[in-house]
Subunit: 156 residues, 2 copies
DNA sequence: AGTAGATAGTTCAAGCTTAAAATTTCAAGC
DNA sequence: GCTTGAAATTTTAAGCTTGAACTATCTACT
């Protein structure tokens, strides 16, 4: 009748349950945001992410840096930037002294579009996380902060 | 010098920050799991999800129910099940009395494969969420539980 | 100069994902 | 029996995503 037998197994199960719950919540919110972007702005989450990264760097970013910052593959960014460029929202600019690299930058149109979308986006998130007080948000954020066995670099 | 002016704006910003953090953590864990499944079992997360759902229902599920349970589109499930069937891990079974629907079920091979993968999967999650105590897990889980302005049905 | 290796980016094949259209079958009402 | 609409599934077009192969350029060393 050793009372402490139950614990060890419980921990990994408890973590698994947490993971599944996080996954569910994240996917639900993500789906809602994707839907909103599609309907309201005929756009997508990946496009929004790229534009957000570029918005913070007025000077522009190299494809390189962009893919590192978004943590997606190189080839992935190529496609998204291609389509954004087709729509005139970003532009590729040659770099002096290195013909391998290109700088990607928001156009004026791109900045306008992003500003509009970002405001809407914040509102959607606010609505989706309606039940969360500032304290909860802060608290969960803290717990989450040091979560995934930090694989090294990261930028907020 | 009204001291309470800062609050209202902060809440939506705080929620936004929480959302971005959740997104980052989720993606990081997801990427790690995907990588593991690919390298160790030459498989993918969507395949794992489908097999997990079928594992819980020994009798099998209709395409219909499968896509509802996983919260992905109908057509999506078609493709994943196609590929799983090619590999002999699931089978489609005609339903008596309704020629529109088909039942999808794990094969014996499928059950074996899933049992192995599920054990590994739990271990990976356990390792990835290393910093999380049972109490933290429980706590975050609680906070998350009622999170996304519940859009209706859901099954753990 | 010449070459070896690193770096930046694109292309490719495969799979995932969605929304919308199309197909097939079923159920009900006339 | 016919038809009309609902239900289950697949197909399609477009985009996202990855890892791997490929191209072009640059850097450094000899």
């Amino acid at each position: 009748m050793t009372a402490s037998l139950a614990k060890p197994e419980t921990l990994s199960k408890e973590r698994l349950r947490l993971w599944l719950r996080m996954l569910r919540v994240t996917r639900q919110v993500e789906a809602a945001l994707r839907e909103k972007l599609r309907v309201e702005f005929d756009s997508t989450l990946p496009r929004f992410d790229v534009m957000a990264a570029l918005f913070r760097e007025r000077e522009g970013l190299k494809m390189n840096e962009l893919s590192k910052r978004l943590r997606v593959s190189n080839g992935n960014v190529t496609g998204i930037v291609d389509r954004l460029a087709e729509d005139g929202l970003v532009e590729r600019i040659a770099i002096e002294g290195d013909r391998r690299a290109t700088l990607v930058r928001l156009t004026a149109d791109g900045r306008d579009a992003f500003t509009t979308m970002a405001a809407a986006h914040e509102g959607w998130v606010d609505a989706l996380l309606d039940g969360v007080s500032a304290e909860d948000a802060h608290h969960i954020g803290e717990l989450l902060h040091r979560l995934p066995a930090d694989t090294g670099e990261q930028r907020q």
